[in-house]
């Protein structure tokens, strides 16, 4: 039994190496202004304990809270060619990429992992709004395709957490082409009869909403998330009128029949488990603490090694 070495240590390493928060121990809620102790906030999944405002959460933090015991294995994403258009605005695209990588300590705007939630095996993908606005370029497209392929190979559902300003302009038409590419990925799941569940988080807009983020079997959104194709500012400029309160927010979409559910982040995990187990015809989940996973559920040794290397 070496699951501790393979799973827990990398995680612990990652927690300590990544999240040293010595000086800034407090975060101010931008909704209600309450000062929140970091520990308290992260224990509550970055949801304000005072007003329930949902702040951004990184894919890694989300997965740590989502998967049983915080244990997951990253799914490898094929590397796209870098800067295919040699795009340059005021900055070169590779420079923007480097800055985003430094800021987030992640490689790109999407993380894909496999693991169990409530002992229910799944594949999950989460988009990182902190990485160039979560923008969908070739890497994100490849990540979703990899997630779908892995889900099909393992016969597992795919849960996808979306968060993006839209397509990545720096990849021009190739970012736009991720709309059909990711739609093919969704079709792979559909044909394999596997559930595809989308959790729309704040914000999900543009070409992302108009492709994989709207094609789930079940569409769940986090409270107050902005979900739209065209952003409110563009619409106000076009129609020259003020938009109603709460326009394009999760609850508004729910009211207009565009979503199945709006679910607070703190209840999401249980809800996903419940839904997935019903869709896949499994008995209800066992509540309460779970023992550590055994090795039979683990991955090929090479992938574990990669995972360990990455975090060391």
């Amino acid at each position: 039994m070496n699951w501790i070495t393979n799973y827990v240590r990398p995680r612990i390493n990652s927690i300590f190496s990544r999240r040293e928060v010595p000086e800034n121990l407090w975060t101010k809620c931008d909704e209600c202004g309450t000062m929140l102790f970091h520990r308290e906030l992260s224990d509550n999944l970055n949801v304000c304990t005072h007003c329930d405002h949902h702040m951004a959460i990184t894919p890694r933090d989300r997965f740590n809270a989502l998967f049983d015991g915080g244990i997951f294995v990253e799914v490898k994403v094929p590397e796209p060619i870098t800067d295919p258009l040699q795009f340059k605005d005021q900055k070169k695209y590779p420079e923007r990429m480097k800055a985003a990588q430094k800021k987030t300590t992640e490689k790109e705007a999407m993380l894909v992992a496999e693991g169990e939630i409530g002992r229910t095996p799944i594949v999950a993908a989460a988009q990182d709004f902190g990485f160039m606005g979560g923008s969908m370029g070739m890497y994100v497209g490849n990540a979703i395709i990899a997630a779908a392929e892995r889900a099909v190979a393992l016969k597992r559902p795919l849960v996808l957490f979306s968060a993006a300003g839209g397509a990545r302009m720096q990849e021009g038409i190739l970012s736009l082409m991720q709309m059909p590419r990711t739609t093919v990925a969704v079709q792979m799941l559909k044909e394999a009869g596997l559930p595809y569940i989308v959790v729309l988080t704040h914000p999900t807009t543009g070409g992302v909403t108009a492709s994989y983020a709207m094609l789930g079997d079940v569409q769940i959104a986090e409270p107050n998330a902005l979900i739209c194709f065209a952003g409110p500012r563009v619409i106000e400029q076009t129609i020259r009128e003020k938009l109603p309160e709460g326009f394009q927010r999760a609850e508004y979409l729910l009211d207009h029949g565009m979503l199945d559910r709006v679910t607070p982040r703190t209840q999401l995990r249980d809800e996903l488990i419940t839904i997935i187990r019903m869709l896949t015809n499994q008995p209800p989940a066992v509540k309460g603490d779970l023992p550590a996973p055994d090795e039979t559920a683990s991955q090929p040794a090479t992938e574990q090694a990669e995972q360990t290397d990455k975090n060391d």
């Binding site: 060619i81 295919p84 108009a210 129609i239 565009m258």
Partner: protein, 320 residues
Amino acid sequence: MTHYLDFEKPLAEIEGKAEELRTLARKSEGMDVEAEASALDKKADQMLVDLYKSLTPWRKCQVARHPERPHCIDYINALFTEFTPLAGDRNFADDHAVMGGLARFNDQPVIVIGHEKGNDTKSRIERNFGMARPEGYRKAIRLMDMADKFGLPVVTLVDTPGAYPGKGAEERGQSEAIARSTEKCLQIGVPVISVIIGEGGSGGAVAFATANRVAMLEHSVYSVISPEGCASILWKDAEKMREAAEALRLTAQDLNKLAVCDEIIPEPLGGAHRDQAAAINAVRAALTKMLADLNGKSGSDLVKDRRQKFLDLGKQGLSA
């Protein structure tokens, strides 16, 4: 009256002068201006060649948006017979920004779908400048289902600034409608052929252009965002649209190198608006060829090839 684009101003002057001379000659008998006028014609022709042989990306955007450029309706009238428009999404409305229906191309029954921008103020408003609402995409989905059921190829003519950014459009699920339309394009077991005839504006274009073959007119453009939109976001200055158009690689020529565009359809000298018939005939030739390539294939092969084509995109960048 010809509509001149700003970069065509010098051309407008010369052509205007030649026209003026000829009008003058018609009024005053015995006055011979032909030699002078045809010298001006020649100068204008040469200028046209020079202007159009290497249009910058921004100029191509202007040509692609030219008000006299042949639109969807012109292609449908000229290239198809027995066009029978089929209206409505069976849910909310009929979107006039999207034309669609049954028609024959070279006698073969097909489903034709396209964005129509309108040709004058009245029709532009009626067509919402070619910006579709969810109903437009849902009408297209319905027609694609019909095509699939009866084994008819689908031809789409793409010409849109983008999907309409309006309140009702959002409330009725613009994103979902676009996503489902793209999904439908990928599902149907019949040939899907798309021609970008003017502007391929973002998701609103993808919803129709997820095809087995995507052809583009020589001066048409296809982009993730308009140059103006890109400039205002990345340059924080909408006036930097020239730079943005350059950076976005939105021309048929660049998209052909990236394998997004399978075929470039040549335009007459001075752009499709200078000789609509020539442009329409070039599209006819391209459509005939593309349809012949796909007609014999099985439904499952068509679906498989279409998916693979999109999965493979991005493997080649622009080799400098």
